[in-house]
Amino acid sequence: MSTPPTIVLVGHGMVGQRFLEALAERGLTATHRVVVLCEEPRPAYDRVQLTSYFSGKTPEELSMTDMEFIAAHGIELYVGDPAETVDREARTVTAKSGQVFEYDTLVLATGSYPFVPPVPNKDAEGCFVYRTIEDLLAIEEYARTKATTGAVVGGGLLGLEAAGALKGLGLTSHIVEFAPRLMPVQVDEGGGAALLRTIEDMGLTVHTGVGTQEIVTDASGAVTGMKLSDGSELATDLVVFSAGVRPRDQLARDCGLTVGERGGITVDEQCRTVADPHVFAIGECALASDGRVYGLVAPGYEQAETAAATIAADETDQLSFTGADLSTKLKLLGVDVASFGDAHGTTDDCLDVVYSDSRSGLYKKLVIGRDGTLLGGILVGDADAYGTLRALTGSVPPISPESLVLPAGSGGGAQLGPSALPDEAVVCSCHNVTKGSIRGAVTDHQCATVPEVKKCTKAGTGCGSCVKVLGQLVTAELEASGVVVDKGLCGCFSQTREELYEIVLALRINTFQDLLDRYGREDARGGDGCEICKPAVGSIIASLAPTIGASVYVLDGEQAALQDSNDHFLANLQKNGSYSVVPRIPGGEITPEGLIVIGEIARDFGLYTKITGGQRIDLFGARVEQLPLIWARLVDAGFESGHAYGKALRTVKSCVGQTWCRYGVQDSVRMAIDLELRYRGLRSPHKLKSAVSGCARECAEAQSKDFGVIATSNGWNLYVGGNGGATPRHADLLAQDLSDAELVRLIDRFLMFYIRTADRLERTSTWLERIPGGLDHVRDVVVEDSLGICEELESLMAAHVSTYRDEWAETINNPEKLARFVSFVNAPDTPDPVVGFVPERDQIKPDLPLLSIGMRPLENAEDVLEGSAQR
């Protein structure tokens, strides 16, 4: 027979895909026919990042399969066609479609299936597992339409991930764990206690030490609750089983391959099945030669490499798989939990170093050998050091273990940067990449950025937990090799935003072109700038407008061309090309008449209305040509722009305060309104948010704001640098017991100092963390006036306050500007046909199918166009 030898791969999961890449790297795809049987309806995707589907990743973005790679290597991939039987005698595999494939080598990479405990009604409607994209789609659909409460059976790594996802879907979430603590495999009792507190603080309910005995259903067979082993019953509409996984070894059992007592296809150190030299097993379905089934991706990748190397019989590259690291870090729930190495201290004679602070949910334990070797550890509440510590495991750390667990800034605490790691330390354990290879990528392969290093070494492309360390290593290596890390704003300017601010202010430069042509990089001068520097410089000019002699109207002259697309239309662009409208509602206070006007406008224009998280009202679905009509009515009723589109002051939230509340000690509403009116329209490096609470109960959440104010019986406390968002930060107290005037003066200085020195898109929180000296330095500058600039800061703010004008009022009175608010320059009366809506819960939402089709046939397009072309 002249056909090339055939490799058949059963299972196209993460490990299967890695195996194909390993075959290609060794040239085996050129010499072999490679057939892949893939059971799922889509080729291999990133199961580790599965949960990120709920935070917006699409199935396409999760894909790990490059179809060009498959085609280029002539791989025959049969999607949605699982293997059904294997005939080892005849060396054939029969797929579900009936196709029969002969093989010379068979590789099983069938992964695992979720274990569902055999409780009554476990298959009821509303019961799910958590393994595939299809599982998530089904959970999402059910949660959206039929459930308000969800329970996860199993409080391990995956269970917590699933519970976090249910919560993210808006369900009240419960976790039921049989063991006495959460994540029993990874953390010990102390860590479990800290973890429990953190998880409960996030609003999840945890039931430990109880088993699930029965799923309770209603007459239609849908889940209504579950009976627990302590006799209680938990009401829930949705159950996710996450009680561990079992190797998928049925195919192997059926064809007589050896499997372990507790499952898993038995293989040797080369990943060859012990029963048949022509068959290999890799990934979660394999029982490795050390007697373990690994449920993590990194060991699976190593097995994939080992099997490919063995098939290549590549003597120089004879790999073997004898065991692997089980380090893990919890993703996505917003809780820092990590365990690595010998986390439970099972090594003889080892010692623990423990730091525990139950008040703040911190628990850190390091396991140290007699000779000082770091053997492993558990981090709960703060896992920043995970990347470095994991890589140091197996060596003696250069500083004492005590100082490694103490929090930074506590005196004894020390930060151990990745520079302390030896070259052979494994930084990325998903892809087994050492510090040495990362440095090599920078020095020998000229990689100058983290994405380049990721591409070159694969480090950081698995679970992502090493990316932070990776970034630090790349910067350190670049700096060490004398490369000046370019801190310039963008490809057009070599200065930072702060430097550009200083130039604009000192030289009173008030156009972008002037700045670019005089101070831009040589080859950018005379050009158009880019999407980074135009809005950044536009913002600097707007912040300083009255002082440098620029127009205070952001759509005037050249400034109009600089504004980001949202600022250009003074509204927020939505996914289908329509806009949202947010009128300012200072302090969240609004009259019934105001509400009625907003309601009438929304009704008349058919807009979707929603109360925002910022104590005001958002009107969605306005077409660009409707914006001026809507605003004409809003302005007429006394409303003005809320700058929801701008990097500018958003809202100053307030609680009802002393006027009504029995605890209030100051008039928080009055102060919030004063502050909002004072700083409205102020352009800044990023958006600015504020809040004022009437007492220490803090109903306005001031400590999560860029500048937050809390009333005291003696005045006001000012907090700065708070942030919600993806990396929340509690604000720091800047000054106490201020009078009204002192408070305003201090905020003036603080904001202007921030605007002057922050990077583009840097919130006050990240700015405070970044600038040398941090909060103490800021306090020196704005309270003690250590730089002698406070007078200037105050006068800059005074100039802003006195020249503020509502930009929407200005726009609706300017016919030339109004002409821009059309969908089509040559058909000003025709609305954009791509902007369509469909009903949802008595209101509207964007018509998404329309977006994917791209065009709706225009009725009478010719008529509409006629005569309008010459406008």
């Binding site: 057009c492 158009d528 880019c530 135009k534 996914k575 002409a819 089509f824 320059v825 977006l851 397009a861």
Partner: protein, 122 residues
């Protein structure tokens, strides 16, 4: 594309793709003065397609398809334009992918390209 001296009478015209180059293949869109240097506008073609037209600070004109191929909405005309390695581009206002204004090539995803049109001021 043509360098256009600024006079009020000039009209922006697009060549529609019959490819024959006949004078009547030029479709008149609007007055040149409607285009603010550094920004774009959208125009509707007789067959319902949408075109994004831009004018850079040097007065050069560009025309590409108005649809953002990533998000589906017809919004590229509202993006910011700039210069990257000497070539003009527009950044989508949705998720900021950049497109070369001369070739239509997406600079952030080599597999994506949008249609371009010949445009002149006459």
């Amino acid at each position: 594309m043509t360098l256009a001296p600024e006079t009020t009478d000039l009209k922006i015209q697009l060549r529609l793709d019959d490819g024959k180059g006949a004078e009547d293949a030029w479709f008149t869109v609007c007055d040149l003065s409607h285009l603010l240097p550094g920004r774009g506008v959208a125009a509707l073609l007789p067959d319902g397609r949408q075109v994004a037209l831009f004018r850079d600070r040097g007065g050069r004109l560009y025309a590409v398809d108005n649809r953002d191929p990533f998000g589906g909405a017809a919004v590229l005309s509202r993006g910011l334009i700039g210069t990257h390695q000497g070539r003009p581009f527009v950044a989508s206002p949705l998720l900021k992918q950049r497109f070369d204004l001369l070739s239509g090539q997406c600079l952030d995803d080599e597999t994506v390209r949008i249609a371009t049109y010949e445009v002149r001021a006459a």
